[in-house]
Amino acid sequence: MIKSFKKNIKGILIEGLTLSSALIIIAIVVVMFTVIVIGGKDQITWEFLTSFPEDGMTKGGIFPAIYGTALLVILMSIAAVPFGTITAIYLTEYAKENSIIAKTIRFAVRTLAVIPSIIYGLFGLGFFIKFVGTQMDNAFLGGQLKWGQPNILWASLTMSLLTLPVVIVSVEEALKTVPKDLRAASLALGATKWQTIWKVVIPGSISGIMTGTILAVSRGAGEVAPILFTGVAYYLATLPASLSDQFMVLGYHIYVMTTQSANVDQTMPIQFGTTLVLLMLTFILNFSAIILRYRIRKKKTD
């Protein structure tokens, strides 16, 4: 009796301990979310979202930062999604599961996913700006400085390297849900391998490609470290008009306003407002990605 009771106590304690850890994590998320929503909700007006900053960021809106973020993630997706999709297609359709090449590529993808984002920033500076950009300037502009300095093109390319693994992983997962029978049927009807991939496999995994894109966009919208020295600017009076312009970004805006501006207290409401906008943006993106992925997994089990 006593022994089994002791056992029970231990069991309850351990289950309670694990449950409370789970609850603490949920609580952390809820608290962070509520604090930012409460702090920023009064800020969010149409005017705040569509006007330029004024009076050293103490008044006005954050439109250029929203615009810059959108432009950044669009350019980034244009670079990352096709390359990521093709890599995933190679891994699932062409490469043999246990070949050395496939293993090496998988290892490379996972390494790309864990490399700190600041390293991408360094790489963007050292490779895109100082190497490619300077070479371009020397070749086409006779040494005149245009591409050899931070701009939105290099920033989005840097960001696309960071989000490449995100795309690869989700597309690969989706490609695997396309039934083997479909592929076999297509091949049996005389379609070539490429035709099968183009007409059967890719349409069947389009939602996976969408998930990958959304997750990549959400990641790209929130990252700041890779663009710190590859193109972002604190304040610009005009919107970026060409690929060689600098741009503003929500995340960097928050960072500079909180740590480097002279009047932190005055900009406090705007800081919360900007953070809320960024958080809602990534939240909505992630949420739709989760729903899409849930549907794909459901399809897989059906």
């Binding site: 994590i25 470290a225 958080l279």
Partner: protein, 394 residues
């Protein structure tokens, strides 16, 4: 089998009017598609190599020019070179950065040297400073190399010292604090999700973790700076508001999703037979969870912690916002620290391309890269091999 070997002959037969359906027609589009796809797939490997090459390349001058500097005489104008650093980039932010740091950290020593530089530099012309740093960039590399092991990180002063020790200590301090905070929470929560939780609770916990993984690090940094720092200071009553403790907790929050996801994967990968065998022997649910499933998944949990460490080690934005950013040697968790990644993030925008400070920052980048690469490799090969062996019972 026979069809394949007779391919050659069959194509001859097709000339005589028979349609051959076994022979594949060579198609350019297919051939090209395969080659292009294969080429693109190698991109990720290429990127890794390029990152390796280019981050290293920019840090190399410290070592190579240190040798050539043996011939060059120690120049007395080194001091001048240093003074011109702030100048060329002339970012108005520079001054502000230091001011806000100063308020937060009370590091009068560091701040003073920063202040001097920005003052003196504003009087010189950009052309001058370019010339000076070009000419004598080599001379200070030797001393820079020597100072790497020193205790001071004063990159912008009359005699710059690039002591990496305080940065490394700061980074380790933060990593230890955040893993001590995040690992138990995440592992226990994962154990709960994998072993005890009902379906409905699972459907709350997992998406919540996914949402947390989607929190931009800037947002977590903002939360730490605005709310967490004040809250923790009220609870623990320490002096400096931003310190390694606050930064560590904030980075722990960022590391929780990684540790949780990988641990949970490892726990669910343990075969059901383990579970059933244990229950059949009369063990209770918690005993099975704690003494059977958890031990079986230890290599996976180890990998989870490793990758969590990798995440914290390279985290930049939270470190910039919540740790106080003062390079100090002390081991007190309630002191401000400056991490390796934050140093790159804070100083890279202000250095002159090609000078020693620039190279040292890239050297720090190389260190970070190697560290995360090794961590990932260990997690990948060693741990996975062990996990597979254990689960398959070999």
């Amino acid at each position: 089998m026979t069809k394949k070997t007779k391919k050659g002959r069959k194509s001859e037969a097709s000339n005589s009017g028979l349609i051959d359906i076994t022979q594949k027609k060579f198609r350019w589009s297919d051939y090209l598609a395969e080659k292009i796809i294969k080429g693109v797939a190698f991109l990720s490997i290429t990127i890794i190599i390029l990152i390796f090459v280019f981050v290293f390349r920019e840090s190399l001058p410290i070592f190579s020019s240190a040798k050539s500097a043996e011939h060059a005489e120690a120049a007395s104008n080194t001091t001048e070179v240093q003074e011109t650093y702030g100048e060329v980039t002339d970012q108005p932010i520079v001054e502000e950065v230091q001011e806000t740091y100063g308020e937060v950290t009370d590091q009068s020593n560091v701040q003073e040297t920063y202040g001097e530089v920005t003052d003196t530099s504003s009087t010189k012309s950009p052309a001058e400073s370019y010339a000076v740093s070009d000419g004598s960039g080599y001379d200070d590399n030797q001393s820079a190399l020597k100072s790497l092991a020193s205790k001071d990180w004063y990159p912008v002063s009359d005699k710059p010292r690039f002591g990496l020790l305080p940065l490394i200590i700061g980074t380790f301090k933060i990593t230890v604090i955040s893993i001590l905070f995040a690992a138990p929470l995440a592992i226990l929560a994962a154990l709960y999700t994998a072993s005890f939780a009902g379906k409905r609770l699972k459907e709350i916990i997992k998406p919540t973790i996914e949402m947390l993984a989607g929190f931009p690090s800037v947002v977590i940094g903002f939360f730490a700076l605005m709310v967490l720092a004040t809250f923790l200071q009220e609870v623990f009553h320490y002096d400096t508001r931003l310190n390694s403790f606050v930064g560590g907790i904030a980075m722990g929050i960022a590391a929780i999703p990684i540790i949780f996801t990988i641990t949970e994967d490892a726990l669910t990968a343990v075969p059901k037979t383990f579970n059933e065998a244990s229950l059949a022997l009369g063990a209770s649910k918690w005993q099975t969870a704690f003494f059977v499933i958890l031990p079986a998944a230890t290599p996976g949990i180890f990998a989870a912690i490793l990758l969590g460490i990798g995440r914290v080690f390279g985290e930049t934005m939270i470190a910039l916002m919540a740790t106080g950013n003062a390079a100090q040697m002390g081991l007190n968790p309630f002191e401000s620290v400056r991490t390796l990644a934050a140093t790159i993030g804070a100083e890279m925008a202000e250095v002159v391309f090609g000078d020693t400070h620039y190279n040292v920052l890239f050297l720090i980048g190389s260190l970070l890269f190697i560290f995360t690469f090794v961590i990932n490799a260990i997690a990948e090969f060693y741990v996975k091999g062990k996990l597979m062996k254990r689960i398959q019972g070999k």
